[in-house]
Amino acid sequence: MSAAIQCRELRKTYDGKIEAVRGLNLEIQTGECFGLLGPNGAGKTTTIEILEGLLEPTSGQVTIFGQTWKENERQLREKLGISLQETRLSEKLTVRETIGLFASFYREPRSPAEVLEQMQLGEKADAWVGKLSGGQRQRLAVATALVGNPKILFLDEPTTGLDPQSRRQLWDIIREFQQAGGTVLLTTHYMDEAERLCDRLAIVDHGQVIAEGTPAELIDRLSGHHMVEFQVSGDCDGSALGAWRALPGVESVRHDNGLVCLNVREPHLTIPVLLDAVTREGKQLLHLTTRQASLEDVFVRLTGRHLREE
C-alpha cells in the first residue's frame, strides 16, 4: 500500500493571528477510509480544504499520490471527488442537469444516469434541485463528487443535519466506494459514524492531531474498556472524585453532568467495592449503569470536552 494523501507540519494562520491548524501530520493509505474527528472549530475543515488544494497552507507540505498541488493541479483534480460543507447547488437546474454539468468537467467521467441510480436519485432525475429534501440534496452533493470517477473521495461533514435513515444510506455509499478500491477522507463530529465507517481516525483538537489509530486502538488507549456511571445522594458536585479514583481497577474518573464516570478495567471487581463504599458512608445510590467505552470517552479523556461542544 502506498500513501494516497500525505501532509507534514501543516500550518494555517488566518490574518496573521488566528491559528486554525498548528503543525498537523497525516498519512492516509490507498483504499483506506480515514476520519478526521474533532469538535467544531478544531480545524477539520481548514485541514481538509488544504488537502483538497482549495486553501494555501501557511507552511507545510501536502502530497496526493506523491504529487504536489502546485505542479499537478489539473491531473490531481481529475482524481478527486469533493463534497464541501454547505454548497448550495443551483436550485433551478434539475438533478440530471446538475450531474451532467459536473460530469462535463472531467475527462473520463462515469455515466451520470448510473451514478444517479446508485445514489437512489433516479426517480428525482427530472426534479429541480430546489425541490429536494435535505437528505436528497446531500446525496446529490456526493453524487457530484462521484461522477468524476475519483480515486479519492473527500467528504466534509457529509451527514450533518441528516435523519438517521439518510445517514445510513450515505454510509452504504461510502462503503461501496471503498470496496471498489477508493480512498475516503471524511470529517465528522459523530462518534458512531467514525466508529462504523473509518478504518483509521485522527482526533483533531486546536489544530493538532492529539490521537491517531483504528477506532479499537483508540479505545484501547483508555486501558479500561468499560465505563461505570453512577450518582449518589449528597454528592452532586463531584468533590469526592479522589476517593472514587482510589477504588481498585479504576483507570480514570471524571464528573459529567451530575454523574460520576469511572473508566474501569474489570467492572465485576470494581462494582462490589463501589457499592460497599457507598453503604459505608451512609449514602444512597441513585443511579448506576455500565457500558462499553466509546470514542466519545476517548475524546473526553484527551481533551476534557465533549465533541459536540463548541
Binding site: L89, L93, S104, R107, P109, Q120, Q169, E176
Partner: protein
C-alpha cells in the same frame, strides 16, 4: 441500536473504461453555457427585467413624449367690461383654433396660473390696451405670450409687411423616441452586463458554488467565458426586441447596418461584463456587491445620455462624461442607428469601450476570489 444494512442492488465498478464517455475540450464550456441559459430561462423575473422592462419603458416614454399636434394654449382673460373685446379679437385671428380662452375672476385666474392651468393671463386695463401677465421662466408661457399677442394684433387688423409661409417637418430620426431607443439599448447592455455577471458571480460565491466548481478540473476561463457568452445570447435577443419594437411601433428608421450595431453591442456587453466582473471580484455578500454596482452605475445613468442628451451638462465636465463607457456606447449606437455612421468613424468611442473592458478584465482576473 440496530444496524440496518441496506444493500444496494447493483455493485458499481470504480472504472468501466469501455462504456464511459470521454469528454472533449469544450464539453465543460458547453454544459456551463447550457446550464446558465436554462437557469435564466427558468427565472421569470429575469425575462421581465431583461426583455419586458426596456420595451415597456420605451413604450411609456415614447407615448409621453410623442410629437403632439400644434400645442393648444390655455389662457385666462380677467373678467371686466373689455374681456369680450379680447375674446372676439382672438376669435377673428387665424390662431383661434390653437388658443383656448376662459373669462375668469382676477383672483381665480392668478391662482390657476400659479398651478400651471393657464399659460398666460390677459388683464384688460381701463383704456384701449391689454396687459399680459406671464412667466418668462416657463417656455410655454413665453411662447403663449408671443402667440396671443400675434393673434390680438392680427385680429385687430394688423397687416404683415412681409409675406411668409412654413412647412411642418417631423421626420422619423429626429424625434424623442429615436433618441431614446439607442439610449435604452445602451443602458440595458450596462444593466445586464453588470448585474448579470457581477450579481450572478457573487451569488455563486456566497453559495460556495464557485469553490465547488474550482474543486473539479473545470477550466476557470471556460467558466467566465460561458458566463459572458450567456449574456451575449441574451443581448442579441434584447437588441432584436428593442429595435424591432421601435421599428414596428414607432416607425423608427435604422440607418446603420445590423452587423455594425451587433458588433458595437457586443463590444459594449463585453466591456460592461468586465466591469461587472471587477466589481464582483472580491465581494462576499450580495448586499455589498449591490452597493458597489450602484456606485459604479449611478454616474452613467445620470451623465451618459440615456434619457436626455449628455450635451446639456456644462462644458467643463464634458471630457469626463465622454470617457464614461456608457457615454461612448450610447453615442456610438446613436451615430450608427440614427445617422448610419461607419465603425471607422467611431474609433475614439470604441477605444474608450475596449480600454474599460480590457483594463477591467485584467484587474478582475488578478483580484478574483473563487472561494
Amino acid at each position: 441500536m440496530t444496524l440496518a444494512q441496506q444493500t444496494l442492488s447493483t455493485p458499481v465498478p470504480v472504472s468501466s473504461k469501455n462504456s464511459t464517455p470521454r469528454n472533449s475540450r469544450w464539453s465543460g464550456f458547453a454544459h456551463l453555457l447550457g446550464a446558465r441559459l436554462r437557469e435564466l430561462q427558468r427565472e421569470p423575473e429575469v425575462i421581465f427585467w431583461v426583455f419586458g422592462f426596456p420595451v415597456l419603458l420605451a413604450l411609456g416614454l415614447g407615448i409621453a413624449f410623442r410629437n403632439k399636434p400644434a400645442e393648444i394654449t390655455s389662457i385666462a382673460v380677467v373678467a371686466g367690461p373689455r374681456a369680450q373685446d379680447a375674446l372676439s379679437l382672438i376669435q377673428h385671428s387665424s390662431q383661434s383654433s390653437s388658443i383656448r380662452a376662459d373669462v375668469v375672476e382676477e383672483q381665480k385666474a392668478l391662482q390657476a396660473f400659479r398651478l400651471g392651468k393657464y399659460d398666460l393671463i390677459i388683464v384688460p386695463d381701463g383704456s384701449a390696451s391689454f396687459q399680459y401677465r406671464y412667466d418668462p421662466a416657463r417656455p410655454e408661457s413665453a411662447l403663449s405670450r408671443a402667440k396671443v399677442d400675434d393673434a390680438l394684433q392680427a385680429g385687430a387688423g394688423r397687416k404683415n409687411p412681409v409675406s411668409t409661409s412654413a412647412i411642418a417637418s417631423s421626420e422619423p430620426g429626429s424625434r424623442y423616441i429615436d433618441f431614446l431607443i439607442p439610449g435604452l439599448l445602451g443602458m440595458n447592455l450596462m444593466n445586464s452586463g453588470m448585474w448579470g455577471i457581477g450579481f450572478a458571480l457573487v451569488d455563486m460565491r456566497q453559495r460556495k458554488l464557485l469553490k465547488r466548481f474550482v474543486a473539479t478540473p473545470m477550466r476557470r476561463s471556460d467558466f467566465l467565458l460561458a458566463l459572458t457568452s450567456s449574456r451575449l445570447v441574451l443581448m442579441v435577443i434584447e437588441i432584436g426586441l428593442l429595435l424591432g419594437f421601435g421599428i414596428l411601433v414607432f416607425h423608427m428608421r435604422v440607418l446603420g447596418s445590423l452587423f455594425t450595431i451587433l458588433l458595437l453591442a457586443t463590444i459594449g456587453a463585453v466591456a460592461f461584463g468586465g466591469l461587472g466582473l471587477l466589481t464582483a471580484s472580491r465581494a462576499q455578500k450580495l448586499e455589498s456587491v449591490s452597493g458597489l454596482m450602484n456606485i459604479v452605475m449611478m454616474p452613467m445613468w445620470i451623465f451618459s445620455g440615456v434619457f436626455f442628451s449628455s450635451e446639456r451638462f456644462p462644458a467643463v465636465v464634458q471630457p469626463f462624461i465622454k470617457l464614461l463607457p456608457l457615454t461612448a456606447l450610447n453615442d456610438a449606437l446613436r451615430a450608427t442607428i440614427l445617422q448610419g455612421a461607419s465603425l471607422s468613424a467611431q474609433f475614439g468611442r470604441l477605444l474608450v469601450l475596449v480600454l474599460w473592458g480590457g483594463i477591467s478584465f485584467v484587474l478582475a482576473l488578478r483580484w478574483f476570489r473563487w472561494t
